[in-house]
């Protein structure tokens, strides 16, 4: 069921605990490099992402963020170094990892119901026909409820808004009760309110269920109130730091290659391009 808490945990006070021990890291890389089509994309990644953490993954276009996701999902092999994900060598089809892909537009979006898109996340790898079994139906309900999507479950995927499609994608990723969620630019194309809603939703999945979140984004601002850490790809090397370390005027100025001003506010901080 999508309601089972996975890794990490919530203590008595309702605060999530982040497990940082080496063996139990959600993602551990040792001098990892990756190449595509014979070309090195990035290298020298040595880092540990703790279980239960909410990590933003940033970097310029083409720097290899989606590539890092493919590596974690076992769709690509590192060309160097060693990598472990949830204590295992990454392998395709691991139900403990949920994926919300970049530009998750479905090929025949207007032919399928949102419910069925979610159901495929659970039953789509099984033999047979039909997606309306009782057990699958209950799991779909639970996953849609978790993303506040019960009102549009029966509509066609192509006929709901971009924000609602994003919720359906997240429900599809959640339906196997994953320990880790990888979201590839889920905020693309959403307005400010839509972005806030998705970030809040993901925050609750992380905070209440202890699901480790890796959130690929171009804009760190909407995430600042909730993330613990930032994974950034800079000069061809992924690096990891806590939010406090990375969200700093000097570091961000270096990262974005343009002057950035960080301003602390009551519920986190914002940064803007300095004049």
């Amino acid at each position: 069921m999508a309601t089972t808490p996975a890794s990490g945990s919530v203590d008595g006070a309702g605060r999530k605990q982040i497990v940082t021990s080496l063996a139990t890291a959600a993602i551990a890389m040792r001098d990892v490099a990756v190449a595509r089509g014979g070309r090195q994309i990035w290298s020298g990644a040595t880092l540990e992402i703790p279980r239960g953490s909410f990590t933003a993954l940033i970097g310029p276009n083409g720097s290899g963020k989606s590539t890092l996701a493919s590596l974690v999902l076992g769709q690509l092999q590192p060309s160097n170094g060693s990598l472990s994900v949830l204590g295992e060598v990454p392998h395709r089809g691991n139900p403990a990892i949920g994926l919300v892909p970049q530009n998750h537009a479905l090929d025949k979006a207007s032919a399928v119901q949102c419910r069925d898109v979610v159901a495929l996340g659970l039953a789509g790898t099984r033999w047979g026909m039909g997606l309306r079994g009782k057990q699958v139906g209950l799991a779909v309900d639970a996953a849609l409820e978790a993303v506040d999507g019960m009102t549009f479950g029966k509509r066609r995927f192509g006929e709901v808004s971009g924000g609602q499609q994003q919720r359906v994608s997240i429900a599809q990723a959640l339906i196997t009760s994953p320990e880790m969620l990888v979201l590839d630019e889920p905020l693309a194309g959403l307005d400010l309110l839509g972005q806030v809603e998705i970030v809040e939703l993901v925050h609750h999945i992380n905070h209440d269920r202890g699901v480790t979140v890796v959130f690929i984004t171009h804009d760190l601002n909407p995430l600042l109130a909730h993330i613990d850490s930032v994974l950034y790809i800079h000069n061809g090397t992924p690096q990891f730091g806590t939010t406090d370390e990375v969200v700093d005027s000097d570091v961000l100025t270096e990262l974005y290659g343009t002057p950035v001003q960080v301003t602390r506010t009551a519920d986190g901080c914002v940064f803007t391009r300095a004049e």
Partner: protein
């Protein structure tokens, strides 16, 4: 089956009596089998964006059939072999999808030309060639009925087994691959099944009218419902009504069954948006409250 009682009933008369003749009985059984096979794959043809490919595969079957006539073999065998070859070729080309339409269209035109070339050598076979192009369900033999039954059974069992995986791989290939589905293999299995169904459907509606059985009923069903099993059932139903209607009319009127079959299928397709609108306005008035604002795109 209902027609079995019709066929054996001694007290039936006139047009119904015609059903007792072997060629009409074969036509009815073959048409029923083909409608079921077409219903099983039509939904996936649409999901996988293959309507044009069905058209192309049928055209690639054409020279296979005329070559078979030329060398004295069964045109259905030639058709099936060429269709499966064509289907696999299209699958292989599909990876460079930017060029797919152009490559498919070019191969289609070449295959048609080759088919006419073989037909021109096989002089005195004009009737056979016409029936390949436009279908002649009344010419189905008992042996062919057995072949059709075997193919239909194989296709239905295959789709029954891989239906869910195929739907996942068709609708959501990125996540399906991430979940470990072998999307390449599923694609090949489906293309072979699709090509076999095209090969046998050509006997009913012909190379030129294949769309009416393989694509139109499924497109009609998708306008009415988004639920996969219902799409398969409704499109099978439309294909059955079209084929049976074509045969019934053909027993009374001197019209080619293909004409009636394609006409019925098209009438359903044209009528579907109106039926869908009625359904939608029903459900909208039911669920009007509590629906969030939707931005259509």
């Amino acid at each position: 089956m209902w027609f079995a009682t019709l066929v054996t009933s001694p007290s039936t008369q006139s047009g119904i009596e015609l059903l007792a003749t072997p060629f009409l009985r074969n036509a009815l059984i073959a048409g029923t089998l083909i409608a079921i096979a077409a219903g099983a794959i039509g939904y996936f043809v649409l999901l996988r964006d293959l309507p044009f490919a069905t058209h192309a595969v049928a055209h690639i079957g054409f020279p296979g059939a005329t070559f078979a006539i030329l060398v004295g073999a069964s045109p259905v065998t030639g058709m099936l072999v060429a269709c499966v070859g064509g289907g696999l070729a299209i699958g292989w080309l599909g990876h460079r999808s930017g060029e797919r339409e152009v490559v498919t269209g070019t191969v289609l035109a070449f295959a048609s030309g080759l088919g006419i070339f073989f037909a021109s050598i096989a002089t005195g076979q004009i009737a056979s060639v016409t029936s390949i192009l436009f279908g002649n369900i009344l010419a189905v033999s008992s042996t062919q009925v057995i072949v059709f039954a075997a193919i239909t059974a194989a296709v239905v069992v295959t789709i029954g087994l891989i239906g869910r995986k195929l739907m996942f791989a068709s609708v959501d290939p990125v996540v399906a691959a991430a979940k470990g589905l072998n999307t390449r293999l599923l694609s090949v299995v489906f293309l072979v099944a699709m090509s076999l169904v095209i090969g046998i459907s050509v006997t009913v509606v012909g190379v030129l009218l294949i769309f009416a059985l393989l694509v139109t009923p499924a497109a009609t069903a998708i306008r009415l419902t988004a639920r996969p099993l219902w799409v398969v059932l409704i499109s099978t139903g439309i294909a059955l009504i079209s084929v049976w209607g074509g045969l019934v009319v053909a027993t009374y009127l001197p019209w080619p069954p293909s004409f009636v079959i394609t006409t019925i299928a098209c009438i359903f397709w044209v009528a579907a948006p109106f039926a869908a609108r009625l359904r939608r306005s029903d459900s909208e008035s039911l669920h009007a409250a509590g629906q969030p604002a939707i931005s259509p795109h």
